[in-house]
């Protein structure tokens, strides 16, 4: 799980996400939306870069709606991984938009 605030800044990612992203959250710390969306170099199966605005979590943040995609990322350990990502907006009790969460996993095969 990858959790961001209302402006897309990274708040936290958990231990399973650390395995896929190639670095412990304690080592990366908080990152701006611009930083993390570039750091993990999302790309399609042909190796073409996916623009930040087309990454599911950024769609969720800008349009406040769920999003999904399957693509490749290069972890901070340098390993290229095929991942599937579903992201959802997070709303508070009063309906305030509080940010978004991306649930993702490595695609096998």
């Amino acid at each position: 799980m990858f959790l961001v605030g209302p402006n897309g800044d990274l708040l936290f990612y958990n231990e399973p996400a650390e395995t896929i992203l190639g670095r412990r959250f304690d080592e990366t710390g908080a990152m701006s939306a611009k930083e993390w969306s570039a750091a993990f170099t999302p790309e399609d199966s042909d190796g073409n870069a996916i623009p930040p605005e087309d990454v599911p979590l950024m769609i969720t943040i800008t349009r406040k709606r769920p999003a999904y995609n399957r693509f490749f990322i290069r972890g901070l350990d340098g390993v290229r991984r095929h991942v599937e990502v579903a992201s959802i907006p997070i709303a508070g009790l009063d309906g305030d938009f509080l940010g978004g969460a991306a649930l993702f996993w490595e695609v096998s095969g």
Partner: protein, 278 residues
Amino acid sequence: MRVTLFGTRGSLAAPGAETTRYGGNTSTVEVCANDGSLLILDAGTGIRRLAKQIPPTTARIDILLTHLHMDHIQGLGFFRPLYDPDVDVHIWGPASSMLGLEARLSRYLSPPLFPVHLRDLPKVVCHEVPRPPFNIGPFRIQTALVCHPGPTVGYRIEADGGSVAYLPDHEPALALPNGRWPAPDWVSGYDLACNADLLVHDAQFTEGEYASCVGWGHSTYQHAFEFAAQVGAKRLITFHHDPSHDDDMLDRLLEDSIRRFKMSCLAAAGREGAVFSV
């Protein structure tokens, strides 16, 4: 049920002349049922002294860990019954999403942090919580994840007709919508503490300190008092005192809070050695 505080300090042990009344040991609480059955809540530095008072005939001890921050497990390696082959020690605590409780505890109970491996202790069994309500002897235990960084569990213990809620590290006020307490379903720890006879609750910070520590997982006196009122606790014990707060400051914080918040229940600051009948 008898509840005895053996360590009330948060974050770091704070021995010294300025903390002699409330104590300097970190979180450790003994819960003893009328039949003599024993639970220990957290294994802070207070657990070393607690061990000396356990009857030598005791064959089973259950240690309930809220989480694995150092101030809650630092005493574990100095708890003598762990090395006694005639005593079954059951340790309950949270796993993380990648590691079980035993593996997590082994990070502390192994070199270089500690000379003895957890696996070399004679009769230690680890159990993971939270889980559905369960029994240990005469105790009915309820567990739930609560608001604190990393996997952290709160406990409700019922026995002999009484109830204790133990939430030593807890920030239920984090991100309260417009400063208002939401419906009970949305309040961290509510089910555990609802109508508890005794609520042992985090009150680490002053309001001034809290302003720069939001999200660190701790409460102010105001938060603790408001939470106690929300859940309808009958008695509140403030706990996890900041290591920089001396005895006189803890006296002042409690007195000010009682005056400001007009509690409907009894309130006291957790003091090492204090005993409560529940």
